[in-house]
Amino acid sequence: MVGSPPHAVDLAALIAATMLPFASFLAILVATRGRPRLSAGLSIGSVTIALVCSIALLALNFQLAAPIQFSTRLIASSGLNIPFGFLLDPLNLLMIVVVSTICFLVQVYSLGYMAGDPGFSRYYAFMSLFTWAMMSLSLSASLLQLYFFWELVGLSSYLLIGFWYEKFSATQAGKKAFVMTRAGDVAFFIGFLLLFIHTGDLSIVHLNSRAALAGISPSFLTLSALLIFGGIVGKSAQFPLLTWLPDAMEGPTPVSALLHSATMVAAGVYLFARLFPFFSMSPVAMSVFLAIGTISMLLASTMALVSRDIKRVWAYSTISQLGFMIMALGAGGYFAGVFHLTTHAGFKALLFLCSGVFIHRYETNDIYELSRLGARRMLVPMVSMVLGAAALSGLPPLSGYFSKEAIMGSLSVLPDPVWLAAGLVGVFLTAYYSFRLIFILLLPGESEAPAGAPAAPAHESDESGHKFQDRVMALPLIILSAVTVILGFFATPLKHFLGASLTARGLAGTEASSWPHMAALALAVAGVSLAWIEFGRKGAKQVGFVDRIPSLYRLFSERWYIDRFYGLLVNVVVDRGISRLCYQNDKKVIDGSIDGICEGTVESGRVVAFLQTGMVQYRLLAMFAVLVLLALYFYY
């Protein structure tokens, strides 16, 4: 078993970081449901400690030589020995920092955003649950443990999407999210069980070691890799399970920021990175992943081109960016993927939180509407948003630029140039749709209502509360903006940090030529320019090029009919088909035959009983006949 013994400090910090949120979850659920402030305090307090612990761990272990693993063997049943404990290596150190940071910021932000909601306590309970699950997921030492928290993360996602459960669409979205990720998880589940059956161990460190997989046939390896990747597809909303993520935007915006952009959906990518050595042992699987990442990235980008809903644009963009990460990882760019994950977490959370401010203020998601109502006048969010969008588009010197660059670098080493081309198209589209949104928001079109007459928001009256909320919400924006700006410069130390554990296997990113970087930058600028031409310049019609091609527009806005397909699948095949068939079978065939037997018994009882009535002589005859026949039987 690889791993050095834990330090007591590490252990304490880990336990604090993981268990405190859980404790606060339970405490809120059981005790403080009626006291929202206390609940929020508990939750934020715990996440703060988690954050501090995470940072401390990162700092303590920055020079980590080998992964640290400590676990108790959880003997679930004989034949199933699974270590249950913590694994510490650079990847998850980074991950817990990201998670706890975003969690912390979002929870603070939520103080403002969710103020006055009747489910305030519940919200924080779920948030704590999520924090716990996500932190533990990141630190899991075995696939089973990871799966355990993976599902819990899914649960908290479900609960938070459907947080406003009186809204039908919200519950619908929650259900959809859960079921679709569940579909992926089932593959994951089967995958790791198969893996377990063949290797006898689910420890991540073990799986990542070449020795563990020595005896396994390549095809089986590919199969289990693909199955496990199913979980990633579901969680990270990749093709073909990508449609739940835009719908998940029915949840409160901070939730979208936290779960559906920065952390939870990134868990898929995290899993990929987590098992990167394992996956990379199957080249076939890796190419499939690459393809899926690419397809998702392109599909989602095209969808983002036409959406009018601010959160959905960012949601599509999230899918697309996750696609980028998967592409990077699939192409072997371990660092690129993880780095993009990190930067993306920052700027996407930023984008969502900014949108949240608008939505909170103007109570609409429609970008044209927001623009009309004068969203551009809110300085902090608007600036942050532009920063975020620029980072998203990959404009230097923001964090996104560096990570995109890394991705392009890893794509460019592939023998087939198609992937690079696709990546570049993606870069262009990203820049285009980001700035389409920004320009629409910044520059209200011709047809807008007179500026300065915003529809009065509902809680204009209590100005003081409003101020507090604004300030609370602004703080995370500022922090995230700062992160977005500076994170890119930490690329090299991070690369070293992350690479430390991987260099041994010769998987560190190869040095690439520089032209793809230039091309990417150029295309990003081109995207921004096109957006400027169509939306930004004076007198622009604010109609994108896609809008002008109706069939394409419909295709994109219908999300390539993927949803339709699923709807059809569920309604026609499952509901009206199999389910009804089974139900009818139950009622008609099984119950019918049982009831038929009973009816038949009763009916024959009636007949037999009738035979017992009537004239006495018939009975005498019957007696005699039976007797004679029995006597006859003797002769046979």
């Binding site: 024959s604 009882g605 009636r606 037999v608 009983a609 017992q612 006495v616 007696m623």
Partner: protein
């Protein structure tokens, strides 16, 4: 000859003579009710003394009348059962409204004579004495059935019972003639010596079959069951109870005895018995499903139970015999309890329909409980005596390899549960159309009901002692061979 071993018979003979004498006394018109009471108490007294006499002579052993009459544990156990049955039946005769007041003496006379005849039957060892005892018991029952007052049902039942009965006994007689002429023996022990060697001869086997038909008639086994539904329905409740309990017990005994002597060694005979048993239980259970009249339902259930008992007998080994003996006891307890409820619910002696049970659980919880327990016991649900009996029978059968027979029997148990549940549903679920007053149940009756319930459950749960008794009783049957 040691006369003391025939103590029970002598006692019952004397008791019946006592009632005969009483019946010659001139009727006392004014105080008819009290007279009626006096006869009842006399009967109870005599019946309970009868039990004691039977118990006292339970270890008696020997032969009377030059081996025409054998007294052994087998017969004595059955005699005790019969005396118990008589006592139980007499105990529910307190308000016998459907027998003419002035005929109560005759009624008890017939009841006691019938019991005497059944006792003779279980001890009789020659074909002739078996035949005569059977006739004696049958005739007293024909008359008892036809005695029912005001209800022409009694007459009709009497006619049918009489015709079917005498037809069956004529067939039996012819069978006995064949058996006698081919084996040359008129005594069972003598037959037991010669029959196994010649069981395959047509005359012997057909004679045996015909002979058994008379006993099957008593037990109400297909195809000799036709009288049972009509007779139960037409007879007064008490008489029906008697037919269902004591008369069945004796029939079980005599079939067992005859088969134990004569029935060995013929696969053909076993086939026939299997066939009759399967048809009996299936037919009885099926027909019972649609019955509305409780007594008629119980009649069909009796037919079904005859089928079960027959399983125990047809395995032809001590385990089966002791199981059948135990089952006879079980039948006595269960059927009596069910009929007791019927009698209590119909103080005017009418026939009870199932719907009339509605609301019973409120009107008289103890009677409802008694009915529940009795029916569950009839259905063979543990921990009741009915289950234990069935269990013993099935173990005996499976040990001999009749697995499918037992499975069929168990399926029949399921069918039977359906109609028992219908009755229970009426008693526990349905509410009567108009509110009926609570049923007044006297303390002795409550005690009786409580004891019946306790007997059914306790014996069902701790049957060991009685199983031992049954095994001891079955002992002589295998000794003779």
């Amino acid at each position: 000859m040691n006369w003391t071993i025939a103590g029970p018979e002598i006692f019952y003979f004397a008791a019946s003579l006592w009632f005969l004498l009483l019946s010659f006394a001139p009727p006392r018109k004014p105080a008819a009710d009290r007279a009626h009471r006096r006869e009842y108490l006399t009967a109870i007294f005599l019946a309970s003394v009868g039990i004691l006499v039977c118990l006292a002579s339970i270890h008696a052993q020997g032969w009377l009348f030059i081996r025409a009459y054998s007294v052994d544990v087998f017969s004595q156990v059955f005699k005790t059962l019969l005396s118990l049955g008589l006592f139980l039946i007499v105990s529910i005769c307190g308000h016998m409204t459907d027998i003419d007041d002035r005929r109560h003496n005759e009624f008890y006379f017939l009841l006691f004579v019938c019991t005497l005849a059944l006792m003779l039957l279980v001890s009789a060892d020659s074909l002739l004495s078996i035949y005569l005892s059977l006739e004696l018991s049958s005739y007293s029952l024909y008359i008892l059935v036809a005695l029912r007052k005001k209800q022409s049902l009694g007459l009709e039942a009497g006619i049918k019972y009489f015709l079917i009965g005498s037809f069956a006994s004529a067939v039996m007689l012819f069978g006995m003639a064949l058996l006698y002429s081919s084996s040359g023996a008129a005594y069972l022990p003598a037959m037991a010596k010669v029959l196994p060697a010649m069981i395959a001869h047509p005359a012997v086997i057909i004679g045996l079959l015909f002979t058994l038909s008379g006993f099957f008639f008593k037990l109400a086994v297909f195809p000799f069951h036709f009288w049972a539904p009509d007779t139960y329905q037409g007879a007064s409740n008490q008489v029906a109870a008697y037919i269902a309990t004591a008369s069945k017990v004796a029939a079980i005994a005599v079939i067992m005895r005859v088969l134990a002597f004569a029935g060995h060694g013929s696969a053909y005979l076993v086939h026939v018995l299997v066939f009759l048993s399967v048809v009996s239980m299936t037919l009885g259970n099926l027909a019972a499903i649609v019955q509305k009249d409780i007594k008629r339902l119980l009649a069909f259930s009796t037919i079904a139970h005859s089928g079960y008992v027959l399983i125990g007998i047809l395995v032809l080994d001590p385990a089966g015999y002791s199981a059948a003996i135990f089952y006879a006891l079980a039948l006595l307890a269960m059927k009596f309890t069910a009929f007791m409820v019927v009698v209590e619910l119909a103080p005017d002696g009418r026939n009870l329909q199932i719907e009339e049970l509605a609301g019973l659980h409120k009107r008289s919880p103890i009677m409802a409980l008694a009915l529940l327990v009795a029916l569950f016991s009839l259905a063979g649900i543990p921990p009741t005596i009915g289950f234990t009996g069935k269990f013993l029978i099935f173990t005996a059968a499976i040990q001999k390899g009749y697995v499918w027979l037992v499975i069929i029997a168990m399926i029949n148990v399921v069918i039977s549960l359906y109609y028992y549940l219908l009755v229970i549903k009426a008693a526990y679920l349905l509410e009567p159309a108009e509110a009926l007053p609570p049923l007044v149940v006297s303390f002795p009756k409550k005690l009786l009901a409580g004891l019946s319930i306790a007997a059914i459950v306790v014996v069902g749960f701790c049957p060991y002692w009685l199983i031992q008794v049954a095994q001891a009783a079955a002992q002589p049957l295998s000794l003779w061979r």
